[in-house]
Amino acid sequence: MEIFLRRAKIAFFFLFFAQAASALELNMAVLDPYQGSPCGFDEKVYSEIALWLDGAANIRLPVKMKKISLKDELSLYPILLLSCSRPPADPDFEEIVKLRKYFSSGGNLLINDSSGEMDSAFSLWAEKLNGTVFNSEMKPLRSDEPLFKSFFIINRPFGRYFFSAVPKGTEFEGRKASLFFKNDIYSVWRKDGNGKYLYKCVPGGEAQREMSRRVLLNAVMYFLTGDYKSDAVHQPLIMDRIRKIDSQLMEY
């Protein structure tokens, strides 16, 4: 009787598990600071990035691009993308406070300079914004940062232009809360009506474009896994220590 009841329970379990599991979507949004600002993402580019991330590393973005401004609630989106060709208006005091609160509660910001200029006005704006929000300046990342190995190994030029070998980041509460890409990793995705890429990647060509895609994936992965990859090297040592402790007799 007991076995019968148990089997009935399992049958019930399968029977009523009506719907197949849906994909786990990330809460990632594109930040457009103000309406009409020179910032934002193209819907097609977004779709292509979403497809690439899903196919390559099981990272699922919302099907429909979520675009938010500084007036909206930011904290629902732990990852924000900000790509601008020109500097938007400076945020006011309330918006600065809001951004700081966003980062304090674990938020992350990926900033891309799509101006195509070496020392663009937007890059100065981004530096200034970081300084105001974090009270510290952006610094070039070290070559051993987890960003360069969070999924792909990044060891070649990336971006539409190769202005700098490494992106900059701002340290905040023990993590890089903000990453700034001067090389423009957004425009490399843009295509014309015929499906051809709008911009060439200089000087590396298609290999540089591929590396740009990988850097974007790594950046998103970094905001999802933190320094997991850096810690991974210590894990065998932790395991060895645990095994050693468990095998020795306690002295007292």
């Binding site: 598990f17 990330l26 099981n58 190994i153 933190g226 306690m250």
Partner: protein, 670 residues
């Protein structure tokens, strides 16, 4: 015979100068050698006189030395416990001295200070001040006899003191376990030894170790030999052990408790997919220094469409065999997050091992959305399905899920108004014997969001949503900004059983002496690593109330030795005050199954420990008048010869001095 010199240094210096000048001129003077010899003899005798010597002639004799009898008058020496009859140990010693004919003038009492003639009044001295009391003794005593039970420390002895131990009478049982030794506290996963000696009538004595009444080991040891059992503690908290010896129909058991702690909480965190929850939970766990974590995240599934060379990827192979089959039992908590068991061919063999891990005392935290719910529904392991606190039914998405705390210890510390969540939720049916921690409302019905179930010795917690990270970033808001941390702190405290622990607790133990071990934990429920708490306590019962003096012993342990007590039930109360102002009072009943006796044998150990002098007399073995009968050899000065006061010596001096004058006069030179 003994020579003494009583010279004055100034007089001696003047004399030596005079003698040196005289000798100088005497050497240069031309005179007969015989006369010179006389003069030199005079100078020598004068030199002897300047030293003021005295010659003592001694005679040997025997007598009793001047003796001070000091009685240790600590609270424990003066307490009447019934174990030494109607008198306390101090009174017993005093009675013995008076019966020996000792004058009251020679009897002193050492308590907070030295008392002479009569014992101290009601003033309490838990421990008597031995060194201070001896320092306050009047001078002139040639011998000091100190009566003590060895409970108060004895330091600063110079060999002048003789010790007499006053203990409670004891009888040795034919079947007994002695020299029991075990650790004050133990750590989970780390085995320890219990050492002891067994005595009985038979040649071999069967000995058994029980853990909470369940036999864990049994061996036969030769009579009078030392034995040991190796214990591997399973689970944290107080473990009550019983060590029993059997000889024929006779049985003798000694009970003892060992508090088991975690040195560090060990967690394996396996996430099936990169997600925000992993980012925040891993960050939270990493911030806890008293935690060892192995973390893995499945970044790529076999089906992912990516055509790149392996060396272009930075992927770590997931050690499936090691984690699921070999090393899992080294850990305390296994966290599985949105893990699809079909991903890595985790078949029933692996899942059965996870179920075994929980059954034997491990804990499992399942955080799941759709992928894990589906794989759980199709889990091939019946054992694994049995441990689930909730059975997934379907996945629903909502922009606002109202949450309700349940009457559960995990939820009791959380706010009543749990911040709402949005996102995907797994609607599930509570499994039998499971308990809801937090529920949520969907479509007018209530479903478990967080639920738990005990499975074997372990615990399982299941979270039916991947949106809990919102408490960290969004929905908790300013009012409940620490809700995320409080929630996971409670969850892990439940999973590692520390929620069941008090920050302070005590056990009564006996390894040679009876004592109360108070266990003090820090805010992470690890043993307090420094002397950061103040403990006050007392033991009461059978009409007495005695203080317990706690001292920091080692990491997490304070110890107070129990005073001599009759067997029976007593209440122990301890108040622990932490430096941060937090304090905890706790009390409990203890049942002493044998008299606590500070036997004379024990006292010798105590004395050896404190003074380095194990030799001590035992009052029970001394006849009255023992000390007065002891006469020591002395040398009394019978006669003294002092040249300075001797007529003949001075006569010789005058003769030597005047000999030359007389000689010259005789020769007619003068």
């Amino acid at each position: 015979m003994e020579i003494r010199f009583g010279y004055n240094p100034y007089v001696l210096a003047g004399c030596l100068f005079f003698l040196a000048v005289s000798a100088f001129f005497l050497v240069r003077k031309k005179s007969l050698p015989r006369l010179k010899a006389l003069r030199f003899s005079f100078l020598i005798l004068l030199g002897v006189l300047a030293l003021n010597p005295a010659l003592d002639f001694k005679k040997r004799e025997y007598r009793e030395p001047e003796t001070a009898y000091v009685i240790d008058s600590s609270v424990y020496m003066r307490s009447k416990t019934g174990l030494t009859g109607p008198l306390s140990k101090a009174a017993l010693a005093e009675k013995w001295l008076l019966e020996s004919g000792t004058s009251r003038k020679s009897i002193f009492y050492a308590a907070d200070r030295l008392y002479s003639g009569f014992p101290p009044g009601t003033g309490e001295a838990y421990y008597s001040d031995f060194e201070g009391a001896l320092g306050a003794l009047p001078s002139g005593y040639e011998r000091i006899v100190y009566f003590t039970d060895g409970y108060s420390p004895v330091t600063g002895t110079d060999g002048k003191v003789e010790f007499v131990l006053v203990g409670e009478p004891s009888e040795k049982e034919p079947l007994r376990i002695e020299a029991l030794k075990y650790p004050d506290l133990a750590f989970l996963h780390m085995p320890f030894n219990v050492h002891f000696e067994v005595f009985g009538n038979a040649g071999g004595i069967r000995t058994e170790l029980r853990d909470n009444g369940i036999k864990t080991g049994s061996r036969e040891f030769p009579n009078g030999s030392a034995g040991s059992f190796t214990v591997s503690p399973k689970g944290i908290g107080k473990h009550d052990y019983g060590l029993c010896a059997f000889s024929g129909a006779a049985e003798k058991c000694l009970n003892f408790s060992v508090n088991v702690f975690r040195d560090k909480l060990r967690i394996v965190y396996l996430s099936g997919v990169p997600n925000h929850g992993y980012y925040f939970l891993r960050e939270y766990l990493k911030s806890n220094p008293s935690l060892d974590m192995l973390s893995f995240i499945i970044l790529r599934e076999p089906g992912d469409s990516l055509s790149v060379r392996e060396d272009e990827l930075s992927l770590i192979p997931f050690p499936r065999e090691e984690i699921f089959l070999k090393d899992l039992f080294h850990f305390d908590v296994f966290v599985l997050e949105e893990f699809d068991f079909r991903q890595l061919a985790i078949n029933s063999f692996y899942l059965d091992n996870v179920a075994k891990f929980v059954k034997e005392g491990g804990s499992l935290l399942l955080i799941g959305g759709g992928a894990m719910a589906e794989s759980l529904a199709k889990s091939p392991s019946e054992n694994f399905r049995e441990l689930l606190p909730a059975l997934p039914l379907e996945i629903k998405k909502t922009d606002y899920a109202r949450l309700f705390p349940s009457p559960h210890p995990v939820a009791s510390g959380l706010t009543e108004n749990i911040p709402p969540l949005r996102g995907e939720f797994v609607l599930s049916r509570p499994a039998a014997d499971s308990r809801e921690i937090i529920g949520f409302e969907y479509g007018g019905s209530r479903y478990p969001l967080v639920s738990e179930k005990k499975y074997g010795k372990g615990r399982v917690v299941m979270i039916n949503s991947m949106s809990l990270w919102q408490w960290k970033t969004f929905s908790a808001g300013e009012k409940n900004r620490y809700f995320y941390y409080d929630f996971y702190k409670n969850i892990f405290s439940w999973l590692d059983f520390t929620l069941d622990l008090k920050r302070a607790d005590f056990t009564v133990s006996k390894t040679g002496r009876f004592y109360v071990n108070a266990y003090v934990l820090d805010e992470n429920y690890g043993p307090l690593t420094h002397d950061g708490a103040v403990l006050k306590g007392h033991i009461a019962g059978k009409g007495i109330k005695l203080p317990l003096a706690f001292n920091f012993r080692k990491r997490g342990v304070y110890r107070a030795y129990l005073p001599p007590l009759e067997k029976g039930v007593y209440s122990v109360s301890v108040e622990t005050s932490f430096r941060d102002g937090y304090s905890e009072k706790y009390s409990g009943k203890i049942n002493l199954d044998e008299n606590i006796l500070y036997r004379e044998g024990f006292s010798a150990e105590g004395l050896e420990k404190y003074s380095g002098r194990p030799e001590a007399l035992k009052l029970s073995e001394l006849k009255p008048g023992y000390f007065s009968a002891q006469k020591k050899e002395y040398y009394r000065v019978n006669k003294t010869f002092t040249p300075g006061a001797s007529f003949y010596f001075l006569l010789f001096l005058v003769l030597f001095f005047s000999a030359e004058l007389a000689f010259r006069r005789f020769k007619g030179e003068l």
